[in-house]
């Protein structure tokens, strides 16, 4: 199977490989997939008080397309709002990387990973300090949305 140039580029020069402290309250972590299925993605985002994704990191066990899909997503979400991240569609990844049908599941996994990371961050925020601050967070999110 011949790979698309963009897949090869992301695979050979993956952006934002790494880990963040998952205990850090400003970090949201999404771990999706299963080793038995041949792909596991861990995507992490660091969100600032304004609800903007300041940094994103990933580690992926999977084929070249899975690595490229997660690398691409970290690149896309950096500097964007949570809302942008949550609404990212796998079809955009498919299009950008020209993934063939057998690799579409890689893009689905990347979408799941970013959504799981956002959900994790939100869960932390609400658990952390009750309703009042959740509102604050929601407000922050709203502001970020406006900016985005």
């Amino acid at each position: 199977m011949a790979y698309n140039d963009k897949v090869i580029d992301h695979y050979e020069n993956p952006r934002n490989v790494g880990s963040m402290d998952k205990e850090d309250e400003s970090v949201g972590t999404g771990l999706v997939g299963a080793p038995a299925c041949g792909d596991v993605m861990r995507l992490q985002i660091k969100v600032n008080d304004d609800g903007v994704i300041e940094d994103a990191k990933f580690k992926t066990f999977g084929c070249g397309s899975a690595i490229a899909s997660s690398s691409l997503v970290t690149e896309w979400v950096k500097g964007k709002s949570l809302d942008y991240a949550e609404n990212l569609k796998n079809t955009e990844i498919v299009q950008e990387l020209s993934l063939p049908p057998v690799k579409v599941h890689c893009s689905v996994l990347a979408e799941d990973a970013i959504k799981a990371a956002v959900a994790d961050w939100k869960k932390k925020k609400s658990a952390q300090s009750g309703d009042a601050q959740t509102e604050q967070a929601a407000e922050a999110e709203g502001q970020a949305e406006q900016r985005a």
Binding site: M1, Y3, I8, Y11, P14, V17, S19, L31, V32, G33, A34, P35, A36, C37, G38, D39, V40, M41, R42, K59, T60, F61, G62, C63, G64, A66, I67, V102, H105, V108, L109
Partner: protein
């Protein structure tokens, strides 16, 4: 100097040896005769070349030349062995019931000419005898049961499935963790209805060598025919069809430095004389077992390849084992969490199948893209299932996804082995730096304790 790309997929196919190509050349040009033409020189020359090749192939496996049937390749040989034996020696339960019904119809007069309705393939059937004793007893020797392995090549598995559709029963024996058949399980599986055991000599993915001589002995004791798909092993390890009690054996030319599109089936002629129902009908070539004009140049190539393998085998096997050990040592000394799939001792000289935990096979293949290898990972095929062979060994799906098959052969050099081993070590490390699973493993997290969402 290393020249790229490097070919390390010798279990998939092998390059044509220049000496083989040279031997074939005249038969692709001036000597174009049909080996079946008995009336002129062109035919005689072709026939002589075919007969020489037949002797060369027979010589490699301890057979006589009359026992070699040329085919289009091992897939055809496997099909011919299984279907040919089943159709000639077997009878399904439904067929026996049909004979019982015809016998009964003859007795009660409802079908007076019942004998005419017996399909000729059963030979002359005495319906009165069937009515008296039952078809099951009259045709007690014509069973409906075949035994094979879960880890066989698809040419065997799919032929067996086809026979199941016709009403035959097939037992697919599992293998042990080292990839080898359990001989006690084989003995237990043999019943009075068993007509054939088909067990591969060497596995194409993991390279393990089955205990063929022991299997042959068991089959002979139980008077069951024994076929072996020896595609990967012929020319690589010594074998003798008589010492090993092999009745049928499949051979492919392109796995032993011969051309593609030609193979052979060894069919025992003495003690017992094995007969087959043809799969391809026509002019009655190859003792009626395989019609079709012979591929003279291809057959000459197969013969020459066999002769070369016989001549070079000892030396080549020794060198392959050295290369394999050298490669494996480099991998094992420089990486943690690597596993050799299949028995470490009972394996083909040039084959290594390794699982690199926490790294996905296709990603690794992409990382060593100038090296031709194959992977047991799902991602290489349209299906998302990992290798059924590794599964049968009890290798977890995660490690099956992490496996790579390295096949070394006649033209593999020491330098290539060192280069590839170093490259693999470097790239596995790089991919592990990128693997969340390796990080978790290093943190001491038991990956099996996590509830993964299957997708």
């Amino acid at each position: 100097m290393i020249s790229l790309p490097i070919y390390m997929d010798y279990n998939s196919t092998t390059p044509l040896d220049p000496r083989v190509r040279e031997a074939m050349a005249p038969y692709e040009t001036d000597q174009f005769g049909n080996a079946a033409s008995r009336s002129h020189k062109f035919g005689w020359v072709a026939e002589e070349a075919v007969e020489t090749a037949r002797e060369q192939v027979a010589d490699l496996i301890g057979a006589t030349s009359a026992e070699i049937i040329f085919t289009s390749g091992a897939t055809e040989s496997d099909n011919l062995a299984l279907k040919g034996v089943a159709h000639l020696y077997g009878m399904t339960r439904a067929e026996k019931l049909m004979l019982d019904s015809l016998a009964k119809a003859k007795q009660d007069g409802s079908i007076p000419n019942a004998e005419d309705l017996v399909p000729p393939k059963f030979g002359s059937v005495d319906l009165d005898e069937v009515a008296e004793k039952g078809a099951n007893e009259v045709f007690a020797s014509r069973g409906d049961h075949i035994i094979t392995l879960e880890t066989e090549h698809k040419a065997i598995l799919d032929s067996a499935k086809r026979l199941e559709k016709e009403g035959f029963r097939v037992t697919y024996l599992p293998v042990e963790q080292n990839g080898l058949v359990n001989l006690d399980k084989l003995r237990e599986a043999i019943t009075p209805d068993t007509i054939l055991v088909s067990i591969m000599y060497a596995n194409n993915e993991i390279g393990v060598l089955q205990p063929i001589a022991e299997i042959g002995k068991i089959c002979r004791e139980h008077k069951v025919l024994f076929h072996t798909d020896a595609v990967q092993a012929v020319g690589k390890v010594p074998m003798d069809v008589n010492e090993m009690n092999i009745d049928l054996l499949s051979i492919s030319a392109h796995k032993m430095y011969g051309p593609k599109g030609v193979g052979a089936l060894y069919v025992r002629r003495r003690k017992p004389r094995v007969r087959l129902e043809a799969v391809i009908d026509g002019g009655g070539h190859e003792r009626g077992m395989r019609s079709g004009t012979l591929n003279v140049a291809g057959i000459v190539g197969l013969g020459k390849a066999a002769a070369l393998c016989k001549e070079l085998m000892d030396e080549e096997a020794k060198r392959m084992i050295e290369l394999r050990n050298r490669f494996w040592s480099k991998i094992r000394d420089n990486l943690d969490e690597v596993y050799m799939n299949g028995d470490e001792e009972a394996r083909l000289p040039g084959n290594l199948n390794i699982s690199f935990a926490f790294v996905e096979g296709e990603a690794l293949m992409m990382a060593i893209k100038d090296v031709a290898v194959s992977s047991g990972s799902a991602c290489t095929s349209a299906s998302l299932e990992p290798s059924y062979v590794l599964r049968s060994l009890g290798v977890g799906d995660d490690l099956a996804h992490s496996s790579i098959r390295f096949g070394m052969g006649r033209f593999t050099t020491d330098e290539e082995v060192d280069y590839v081993a170093d490259l693999v070590v470097e790239r596995v490390k790089k991919l592990r730096d990128m693997s969340p699973l390796y990080e978790m493993f290093k943190e001491g997290i038991d990956l099996n304790s996590i509830e993964w969402a299957a997708h």
